[in-house]
């Protein structure tokens, strides 16, 4: 009875359990994150001074109304029975022009802002996307796919709301607060103190409110994730649910998740609803206070009636930025959270990095690979590969066998440089694998994994993924060479058959056929098959194996397989056990010796053959 967690499982568990392999967690303060985020997109700064100037002008326009009211009341209506119509007309027209100019400034500012921020965010998306692909499989696997996708989609969108509205609103609001304060102080410093006195407690309380709101939103986000996961079970698991008649149970689980989501949303809404009108109330208190004190002051001759009325208008000018501040803070928090997640990707070093320009480009042709004392362990995990020495000669067929969890897949991942060894060296044609440029490496060594992932498109699109320049004729020829001509002809639309999302319109075996054809077309010098034909029928598998051996083309073939027919055909078999190579040599030799291989072979042969 095997109790050991299989290789793949162990890999993921170890990686998932340790932060070491995962995405970097951003630990900067909110302000530092903001600064870092802004610095990442230099596009944001293009023409920023002019945009800011336009923003200031647009804000100044809002002061026009109170000034106009004050001027009209104090100057134009000095004599309440005979208003100075010439003055009033002139003042009103002047203000109207100013308002229109303000609108124009607003328009220009908006257009500039949208262009720079969208450009910045589009390139940020691109950078983050590219970096996700640069991360090692180890790091990629620590994240849920959906979470990784949101880092280049919704997380970036969250930033855009702030950049296009909130960010500028902060500047404008602060400006408006200052301007209003200064004007209020000009009209009456005593009344200004009253206003500030009323608002100071609120300003202190706002961050606390914000924390409540943020916490409530976090709750909503978590429940949203649960809800979507529950819903996705009803879609992704549709076959199993029907096969086992568990519709009601699934419905119950969905109802629970939907209910919890709804409750979290309602809770968050209540918190927002109760904190939001606080500015309104404080504003009313301030106005009442100003009316009372203003009259006292006015009676004493310290302020005119017009000035007092204008002051009241200024208070609304003072309140509105505070009201926006509540919403902006929320946006800002979202943006910082979004940036944190995007930066989390970008700050995570590509632990298996392309040496790039400095790297070596190896010429095509027969390939030699040498493992020299290679060891590997997942971050924080136990050693899964110990001191492996192996030489793979050019134009040979090598089979890797062993029980699940013996280190075969780890060996394959190291050979294709999906991961780097934690000790020892891997040399390709005498060159350290780490020093080979990815473009050169991927041309020479290609792996076909067990789960032949296909992209949504036609069969031809997917096979061509191995060599984008291939014509339909070349693809057809490749299929014939692989002995897949009959299968292809049996498909409704041949090469133009759509494979569906993730290739789901094809059966598991058919997906593996396409994945193999794709790698075959790429024509590498070393082809590594990791259980690549596990779902294919034996006759097709044997045909494929022959075609793929491709000894005549000078290709080296390394195969990992449960089916030991592969090992029988190989020039050399490497037998893995507990992360070590315990036996090596040709099948004929190994099968005669007592040992791991003879046992494996005996049980396989018993299962594969009738007699």
């Amino acid at each position: 009875m095997t109790t050991r967690v299989d290789e793949r499982g162990a890999a993921e568990t170890a990686a998932g359990g340790k932060a070491g392999a995962g995405l970097r967690v951003e630990e900067r303060s909110a302000l530092a994150t903001l600064r870092h985020g802004l610095a990442l997109s230099p596009e944001f700064r293009i023409g920023l001074p002019v945009t800011l100037l336009l923003a200031v002008l647009a804000t100044l326009g809002k002061v026009i109304v109170p000034i106009a009211v004050q001027q009209v009341i104090d100057q134009g209506l000095k004599d309440t029975t005979a208003p100075d119509m010439v003055f009033i007309t002139r003042a009103v027209l002047l203000c109207a022009v100013a308002v229109l100019l303000t609108a124009l400034c607003g328009y220009l500012m908006n257009v500039r802002l949208y262009r720079t921020t969208e450009s910045g965010l589009a390139s940020l998306r691109g950078k983050a996307f590219r970096h996700v692909h640069d991360l090692s499989v180890l790091t990629q696997n620590t994240e849920r796919r959906g979470a990784l996708v949101s880092r280049v989609t919704s997380d970036v969108d969250q930033i855009s709301t702030f950049m296009q509205w909130g960010g500028l609103m902060v500047i404008i609001s602060v400006g408006q607060l200052l301007i209003a304060s200064v004007l209020m102080a000009v009209y009456s410093w005593q009344l200004t103190l009253v206003v500030w006195g009323c608002f100071l407690p609120l300003v202190i309380a706002l961050p606390r409110f914000q924390r409540w709101v943020a916490r409530a939103y976090t709750g909503v986000r978590e429940r949203t994730g649960d809800m979507l996961a529950a819903v996705s079970e009803s879609v992704v698991g549709s076959a199993v649910i029907r096969a086992y008649g568990s519709e009601e149970r699934t419905a119950r689980r969905i109802d629970e998740a939907v209910g919890a989501h709804q409750a979290a949303q309602t809770r968050a809404q209540k918190i927002i609803a109760f904190t939001f009108p606080s500015t309104e109330l404080v504003g009313a208190l301030a106005i009442a206070g100003v009316v009372v004190l203003g009259v006292e002051l006015g009676v004493g001759g310290a302020i005119s009636a017009g000035r007092l009325v204008a002051f009241l208008f200024l208070i609304t000018l003072f309140i509105s930025p505070l009201q926006t501040a509540t919403e902006v803070l929320n946006d800002a928090q979202n943006a910082v959270a979004g940036w944190r997640r995007v930066l989390g990707v970008l700050d995570t070093p590509a632990d298996v990095a392309d040496p790039g320009e400095k790297g070596r480009v190896l010429p095509r042709g027969p390939i030699t690979v040498s493992f020299q004392g290679v060891g590997f362990h997942y971050p924080g995990g136990p050693q899964v590969l110990h001191d492996v020495w192996a030489d793979i000669a050019p134009r040979t067929r090598v089979a890797i066998v062993g029980e699940t969890g013996s280190g075969k897949t780890t060996f394959a991942k190291l050979l294709t440089r999906l991961m780097d060894p934690t000790s020892g060296h891997i040399l390709v044609d005498g060159v350290e694998l780490r020093d080979v440029r990815f473009s050169s490496l991927r041309e020479r060594i290609v792996m076909v994994p067990q789960d032949g992932f296909l992209f949504d498109g036609t069969l031809a699109d997917n096979i061509r993924y191995g060599r984008p320049s291939a014509t339909d004729e070349e693809i057809g020829l490749a299929m014939t060479e692989l002995g897949l001509g009959d299968w292809l002809e049996g498909l409704p639309a041949g090469l133009a058959t759509p494979v569906g999302q993730r290739g789901e319109s094809l059966s598991a075996g058919e997906r593996q056929l396409v994945a193999l054809a794709r790698a075959y077309l790429a024509d590498p010098d070393l082809l590594l098959l990791d259980e690549a034909t596990s779902a294919v029928d034996p006759a097709t598998e044997v045909r494929l194996a022959r075609a793929l051996d491709g000894v005549t083309r000078g290709r080296t073939a390394v195969s990992i397989a449960h089916r030991l027919s592969t090992a029988e055909a190989a020039d050399e078999v490497l037998v893995f056990e507990h992360g070590r190579i315990v036996q090596r040599g040709p099948h004929a030799e190994l099968v005669r010796k007592d040992g791991v291989y003879a046992d494996l072979y005996a049980s396989w042969a018993a299962a594969a053959r009738s007699s």
Partner: protein
């Protein structure tokens, strides 16, 4: 562009239809929200009136007389604060109730949509991409009910506008004319704005979905991208779409950037107009200066809330699209019909397949004229080359899909005549691709049902599936969470759990679709021997390539290109069916040929 405006007006009409549906579903909450909003609206107007009253009766007299009247001044202050308190209460009520309404509608739609997902036949699922169904239940529902958030505010604004208009008319009809000019102007501008904006927003939305799809697919296939060194082309593919999204967003921004300042400027211009005409009216004695202040204040107050009308209109096009998509799911027909027949609960099942044909796409049959019997208690192996229709056949056998032609019978009853839940109570399919729920091991095995299987029964099933060892090594045994957010299991472990899930039900018909492909040969052998010895009450149909599995079968049904090419015992087929022989003896022949080749080489050397 008449067609476009026609389109817009029909979108608006449908949008109001969607809103109407919500109002009819939640009449009380909606009424409450609108009333709160009306309180808010009335108090917004009242606050200007309170300020006007304070100016007129407390401030100006005090300035004129040179001494403050404490009584009126206190009254003025209380009035201002009291109005604000009511206004705040209105805001709170409106927001809370609008939220409740929106979230209730969302939850209701989600329940309805997922009920459909569970009800509709698997064939319907095959026709609809997973991503689309997920967004139907997610973002589409959100979009459909998005206008409900600003709706009560907008209705409140209408109340407010009417109140304000009445207020101004009372103060001075001449000034009212100015107001009546400004507000329609705002409304018209809003409408033009939304018409210009909505197609652009929808395009951006579409591109956003596309960008997300590319990222999803690309990250899903990360291993392929990496192993074939296609990172650059993937990055280009993504950037190209992201750039189109950028352009779409900028186009949206240009329209927003133009209309937002205009909408803000209009009320301001209104205030200026009020001042100008008000002064004229003041000169002719039509208004007092206090009234003039009151009316101008009203305009500044209205400037912001009037835009709520725009918010509702802005959400409508997206709402309509989301609603339509949700309706497509809700109105999807083609449900699986069930009959009255009941199946026996004990003893192995007898299966008959009669002239069965099926195709996913018309004109491209996957199975044609398939015909065979499985006697009760027998084990039959389904063998055939890759792509010959074996998996499809297993799905037809448990009625996950219905045949285009022909019949599947269990104990003589056509599956289509059998009552709901009866087939799954009798037959268990272990599919090729394992699906585990985000739940405990126990939950994944019993799936809530299995008539309260005891722990002993669960462990017995796990033992038979050779899963007892690793499950007992899990931190919380049967109560360990597995699935996407739980403990990670290998492919072989997952397959063994899926097998145990079928076995715990002691099915009368057990169908295994190559469901041990990720399991070691030794482990598989133990499973198969266990099955043969341990489940005499089951009829077993197994899709297999491995000889050991086939050897366990009493009979073999050999499929080729969707047809039964031959059937009989393994030995019979081996003797007379070339295709079968080629398939199952491929490894042995290869060995023989290689031996011959090696011998040849030795001779040559």
């Amino acid at each position: 562009m008449p067609s476009e405006s026609e389109h817009t007006s029909s979108v608006m009409r449908q949008g109001f239809g969607v809103i109407g549906h919500a109002v009819r579903s939640e009449p009380r909450v909606f009424t409450g929200a609108v009333l709160s909003s009306a309180v808010y609206g009335a108090m917004t107007v009242a606050s200007s009136w309170a300020l006007g009253w304070a100016t007129e009766h407390a401030v100006l007299p005090a300035f004129r007389s040179g001494s403050p009247a404490t009584g009126t001044l206190t009254a003025a202050a209380l009035l201002i604060v009291g109005v604000a308190v009511l206004k705040a209460a209105g805001v709170i009520g409106r927001r809370v109730l609008a939220g409740i309404m929106q979230y209730r509608m969302q939850a209701r739609s989600r329940r309805a949509v997922t009920r459909q997902y569970l009800r509709l036949p698997l064939a319907w699922h095959h026709r609809h991409p997973t991503g689309q169904l997920l967004s139907n239940a997610g973002s589409d529902i959100e979009a459909a009910w998005a206008p409900l958030a600003p709706l009560p505010m907008a209705v409140g604004v209408v109340v407010m506008l009417v109140t304000a208009a009445a207020g101004i008319v009372v103060v001075d009809p001449m000034l009212a004319i100015v107001g009546f000019l400004i507000f329609p102007a705002i409304a018209v501008l809003n409408l033009v704005y939304q018409r210009r904006l909505s197609p652009l927003v929808m395009r951006a939305q579409q591109l956003r979905a596309e960008v997300s799809e590319i990222a999803h697919e690309s990250f899903d296939g990360a291993l392929v991208v990496k192993t074939l060194g296609r990172e650059d082309t993937e990055a280009e593919r993504f950037q190209a779409r992201a750039d189109r999204l950028r352009e779409a967003n900028i186009a949206v921004g240009r329209v927003r950037g133009m209309f937002d300042p205009l909408l803000e400027a209009l009320p301001t211009l209104g205030v200026l107009a009020v001042l100008l005409f008000g002064s004229l009216r003041l000169a002719s004695g039509g208004v007092t200066s206090g009234e003039l202040v009151q009316v101008s204040y009203l305009f500044t107050l209205l400037a912001f809330p009037v835009r709520a009308l725009g918010w509702v209109l802005a959400e409508l096009p997206r709402s309509v699209v989301g609603w339509r998509r949700v309706q497509d799911v809700l109105n999807a027909s083609g449900s699986m019909e069930f009959g009255p027949a009941h199946l026996a609960t004990r003893g192995p099942a007898r299966v008959q397949v009669r002239d069965l044909s099926f195709g996913y796409v018309p004109g491209a049959p996957v199975l044609s004229g398939v015909d065979f019997d499985v006697e009760a208690g027998r084990t039959v192996a389904l063998v055939g080359p890759t792509g010959s229709g074996k998996s499809t056949l297993t799905q037809l056998l448990v009625r996950l899909i219905d045949p285009d032609e022909g019949r599947v019978l269990i104990d003589g009853a056509d599956l289509r005549d059998v009552a709901r839940g009866q087939v799954s109570a009798v037959a268990a399919l272990v599919p090729q691709q394992t699906f585990l729920f985000d739940d405990t091991v126990r939950g994944n095995l019993t799936l809530g049902g299995a008539e309260g299987a005891s722990d002993e029964q669960i462990w017995a099933a796990l033992r038979l599936a050779q899963a007892e060892g690793f499950v007992s090594a899990l931190p919380k045994n049967l109560d360990t969470r597995i699935g996407e957010r739980g403990a990670t299991l290998s492919g072989g472990q997952r397959q063994r759990l899926a097998l145990a899930r079928a076995l715990v039900r002691s099915p009368r018909l057990l169908i295994l679709d190559d469901s041990t492909s990720s399991v070691d040969a030794q482990v598989e052998g133990r499973i198969l021997f266990g099955l043969r010895d341990g489940s005499p009450d089951s009829t077993v149909i197994v899709v297999a390539y491995r000889m050991a599995t086939i050897a366990l079968a009493d009979e073999v049904v050999y499929l080729e290109q969707g047809r039964v090419a031959d059937r009989g015992t393994h030995e019979e087929l081996l003797a007379r069916c070339a295709g079968y022989r080629d398939l199952v003896t491929a490894y042995e022949r290869e060995e023989v040929e290689r031996a011959a080749l090696d011998a040849g080489e030795e001779v040559n050397a």
